[in-house]
C-alpha cells in the first residue's frame, strides 16, 4: 500500500515537472536545429548547431538589448520598492481619513487594461520628452509594478509587531528612522518577493516597450524577439526566435532558482493574507 502510494505520488510529481518543463525543453531543442530540420518533429536533440545563437548575437544589437532590459528592470525594481516602502508604511501604520478608498484606488489601477491607457500614455511621454528613451519604459512600467508592490508591502508591514514601533516612538524616532532602521531590516523577504515580481514583469513587458521606443539601440529583448525576421517577407525564423527566447528566459530561471525560498517566505509573510 505504502509503495503504491509513493509510486503514485512520484508519478504525479513526474507529470507536473514534465508538463512544466517540456515546452522550454522543446524550445531549446528547436534552437539547436537549422535549415529544414526545423520542420521535423524530434523528441531528442538530433543535431547540435549553435548557428542560431551566433546569428542572434551577431545580427543587430542583441547584447545591447539585453543590457537595456537589465537596466530597465533593475531601475523599475529599485524605484517601485522605494515608493512602495514609504507608501506601505503610511498605509499600514498611520490612521488617516480616506485610507480604505486609497487602497481601493490603488487596487483598481492594477486593473487597468494596458491598451486603454496606451494612447494617453504615449501623449504624456512625448510631452515629457521621454520618448524613445529607456526612462519612458521605466516610467510607464510603474503602472503595473507599483500597485502590486504597495499592496504586498502594506500587508506585510501591517503584520509586523506594533511594539517595535511603539518602542521606537518612545525613543523619539521620526517616521523616516522607523522605516529605515526598524522596518527595513525585517522586510527583506517581502522586498525580495515583490522585487522579483516587479523584475519579471518589467523584463517580460512587450506592448509599452514596442510603442515607446523607436530604434534598436533603445529596445528591450521581448520587442527584439518580436522583430526577429527571416531573410524574406513572411518568413518566420523559428530557429532564431527560439534561441533568443532561451537566452531571455535563462536569467529569469536563475533568478527564480536563487530567490525561490525568499519568494515563498515573502508571500507567506504578507501578500496573500488579504
Amino acid at each position: 500500500m505504502w509503495i503504491v502510494k509513493r509510486t503514485a505520488f512520484y508519478l504525479l510529481v513526474a507529470v507536473i515537472v514534465l508538463v512544466a518543463v517540456f515546452p522550454f525543453y522543446y524550445a531549446i531543442i528547436t534552437s539547436l536545429k537549422s535549415g529544414s530540420a526545423l520542420f521535423e518533429v524530434d523528441y531528442w536533440p538530433k543535431m547540435i548547431s549553435f548557428s542560431n545563437y551566433r546569428s542572434v548575437f551577431t545580427e543587430g544589437s542583441f547584447l545591447r538589448n539585453l543590457l537595456n532590459s537589465l537596466f530597465v528592470s533593475s531601475a523599475v525594481v529599485v524605484i517601485s520598492l522605494f515608493l512602495g516602502v514609504t507608501a506601505a508604511y503610511a498605509l499600514a501604520r498611520i490612521r488617516f481619513r480616506g485610507r480604505s478608498a486609497l487602497l481601493f484606488i490603488i487596487l483598481s489601477v492594477s486593473m487597468f487594461p494596458q491598451v486603454a491607457v496606451l494612447a494617453g500614455l504615449f501623449e504624456l511621454i512625448r510631452t515629457l520628452g521621454l520618448y524613445n528613451s529607456l526612462f519612458a519604459l521605466i516610467f510607464s512600467y510603474m503602472i503595473f509594478t507599483l500597485p502590486f508592490t504597495v499592496w504586498v508591502l502594506t500587508a506585510f508591514v501591517r503584520d509586523l509587531p506594533i511594539e517595535l514601533e511603539e518602542a521606537a516612538i518612545l525613543d523619539g524616532a521620526t517616521p523616516w528612522i522607523i522605516i529605515t532602521r526598524v522596518f527595513l531590516p525585517l522586510m527583506w523577504p517581502a522586498l525580495a518577493a515583490t522585487g522579483l515580481l516587479a523584475f519579471i514583469g518589467a523584463w517580460n513587458e512587450f506592448l509599452f516597450a514596442l510603442t515607446f521606443t523607436s530604434n534598436n539601440e533603445q529596445r528591450t529583448v521581448p520587442v527584439v524577439i518580436a522583430l526577429l525576421s527571416g531573410s524574406s517577407q513572411f518568413e518566420i525564423p523559428w530557429g532564431n526566435i527560439m534561441a533568443a527566447s532561451v537566452i531571455v528566459t535563462v536569467p529569469l530561471v536563475i533568478l527564480v532558482l536563487i530567490f525561490q525560498r525568499k519568494i515563498i517566505a515573502g508571500l507567506t509573510a504578507g501578500g496573500v493574507k488579504g
Binding site: 529544414s36 512625448r126 510603442t211 530604434n215 517577407q233 513572411f234
Partner: protein, 422 residues
C-alpha cells in the same frame, strides 16, 4: 565687384533653395525583413554618398497589424521623428490626411509606373505614396507531379480542384500520406481578403466595392465563388488551412506536401533554395479564372510604397529621398538583388533583369491583371470593411452559414459602415 558679389549671392541662394546644401538627417520606418532590410540599407548608402544627407532606418515588427498601429500612433502624436513611412498598398489611403500630397512633386515620374498601382495610392485626386515595388500572387504547381500523372496546368478553378484531387489521391495511394492538393491563406486576416477577392473577381463577382463606391459583393457569382472555396476545405486543402497565413502554406508546400499553392513571389526563390526538397520541381502560372459571366484571371495587388509624413521637418528632402528610392535605377537594383517586382513597366523588358531574375518578366501579365483591394474607395474605413469581409468569408469557409446569407449580412454591414458616402 559689388555686382559680382551680389550675383554670386544670388546664385548661391538659388542653389541653396534648389538643393539643400546643409546635410539633413532623415528617418525612414520600414517593416522590411532580413534581405529587404539589407537592400534598403544599400540603396540608402548610395543616397547618402550622393547627397551627404544621413538616413536612419527605424525597424518595426514585420506583422502588418503591429506596424499599422505603430504608424497610426506616431502620426496621431504629430511625431516629427519619422520623415518617411514605408506603407503597404492599403495603408496610405487610410492615413492620407496626415501624408504629404506628392502629386506635384512626382508628376515627372508617375507616368512610368503601372497605372493601377498609382491609382491605388491616389485619394481624392491626391497621390499620397509613391510605389517602390509591387507584389502579386501566382499559382505555384508541382510540375513533376502533374507530368507524372499526365495532368495539365489548370485553366479554371474547377480544373484545379479536379487535378488537385486526382494527384493528391494517387500520391496518397503511393504512400505519401501527408499530401494535400491545394494550400492557400485561409486565416481570418488581411491575407484572406486578398485570396477571397481573387476567387470572387475571377468568377465575375465584382471587387467588393466598385471604383465608384458601390457595394457590389452581394451577388450570386460571388456567393458561388465562396461556396467553391468552401468545398476545398477538408477535401483538397487541409482543415488547418483556416489558420494558414503565407508561411504556413509555404511550410506545407516546401516540404513537398502540396500539389498547388497560391502565394506571393517570395516563395519562388525560397522554393528553389539550396536543400529545398522541391527545388527545380515546380513552376508558376497565373491564378485560374472561374466559370461565370465576366470570369477572368485575377490576382490581388500587393506591394509597398513610400509616403512622406506631414509632420516631417524636411518634407522637400524627404520627397527627394522617396523619389530616389522609387527611381528606375533603384528599382532595378532591388530587382537584381532580391527579385522584387518593379512598379515601372519598362523594367519588365530589361535584358539584365531578365537574365538575372528570369521570374520577373514572367510576372508582368500577373501584375497587369492585378486587382486592387477597395482601399482607395473605403479610405479610412478600409481596415474595418476588410475585416467585415474576411470574417464573412472565414465564416463561410468554416461552415458557419451559407455564402449567400453571409454575403447578405456583409452587404448590410458595409452599407452601414459607408453611411452616406465613403
Amino acid at each position: 565687384m559689388t555686382f559680382r558679389h551680389a550675383l554670386l549671392a544670388l546664385v548661391v541662394g538659388a542653389v541653396l533653395a534648389a538643393s539643400p546644401a546643409r546635410a539633413v538627417d532623415l528617418a525612414i520606418v520600414s517593416g522590411d525583413t532580413g534581405n529587404g532590410q539589407r537592400i534598403l540599407r544599400e540603396i540608402l548608402d548610395q543616397y547618402e554618398k550622393k547627397t551627404g544627407n544621413k538616413v536612419t532606418v527605424v525597424p518595426v515588427p514585420s506583422s502588418g497589424t503591429d506596424q499599422f498601429g505603430q504608424y497610426r500612433l506616431w502620426l496621431a502624436a504629430g511625431s516629427s521623428d519619422i520623415d518617411v513611412y514605408q506603407t503597404d498598398i492599403i495603408w496610405a489611403p487610410q492615413l492620407a490626411k496626415q501624408l504629404v500630397d506628392l502629386t506635384e512633386a512626382t508628376k515627372d515620374v508617375v507616368g512610368a509606373h503601372f497605372p493601377s498601382i498609382i491609382q491605388s495610392q491616389t485619394v481624392d485626386g491626391k497621390l499620397v505614396a509613391l510605389p517602390i515595388f509591387t507584389d502579386a500572387p501566382a499559382l505555384y504547381y508541382r510540375k513533376d507531379l502533374l507530368d507524372k500523372y499526365g495532368a495539365k496546368v489548370p485553366t479554371t478553378w474547377a480544373e484545379l480542384a479536379y487535378t488537385a484531387k486526382l494527384v493528391m489521391d494517387k500520391e496518397r495511394e503511393a504512400g505519401n500520406k501527408d499530401m494535400w492538393g491545394f494550400v492557400f491563406q485561409g486565416n481570418a486576416y488581411e491575407g484572406l481578403t486578398c485570396d477571397a477577392l481573387e476567387w470572387v473577381k475571377s468568377n465575375g463577382g465584382g471587387q467588393i466595392v466598385e471604383p465608384d463606391g458601390t457595394i457590389s459583393i452581394n451577388n450570386p457569382q460571388a456567393a458561388a465563388a465562396l461556396e467553391m472555396a468552401r468545398s476545398w476545405v477538408g477535401t483538397i486543402s487541409p482543415p488547418g488551412v483556416l489558420a494558414y497565413q503565407e508561411e504556413e502554406s509555404r511550410g506545407v508546400w516546401q516540404t513537398g506536401n502540396a500539389v498547388f499553392m497560391r502565394n506571393w513571389p517570395y516563395a519562388y526563390a525560397l522554393g528553389n533554395s539550396e536543400g529545398s526538397p522541391i527545388r527545380g520541381k515546380f513552376e508558376v502560372a497565373t491564378l485560374p479564372p472561374g466559370s461565370g459571366e465576366g470570369a477572368r484571371p485575377a490576382a490581388t495587388l500587393g506591394g509597398w510604397n513610400l509616403a512622406v509624413s506631414r509632420y516631417s521637418k524636411n518634407p522637400d528632402v524627404a520627397i527627394e529621398l522617396v523619389k530616389w528610392i522609387a527611381s528606375p535605377g533603384m528599382q532595378k537594383y532591388r530587382a537584381l538583388k532580391g527579385a522584387y517586382l518593379p512598379t515601372i513597366q519598362a523594367l519588365y523588358d530589361d535584358a539584365e533583369i531578365a537574365s538575372a531574375q528570369p521570374v520577373i518578366p514572367r510576372w508582368k501579365d500577373v501584375v497587369l491583371n492585378a486587382v486592387p483591394r477597395p482601399s482607395a474607395q473605403a479610405k479610412s474605413r478600409y481596415n474595418e470593411a476588410s475585416s467585415e469581409f474576411w470574417t464573412a468569408v472565414h465564416n463561410t469557409l468554416s461552415g458557419d452559414g451559407t455564402a449567400a446569407d453571409n454575403l447578405a449580412d456583409l452587404e448590410f454591414s458595409l452599407t452601414r459602415l459607408k453611411g452616406t458616402a465613403w
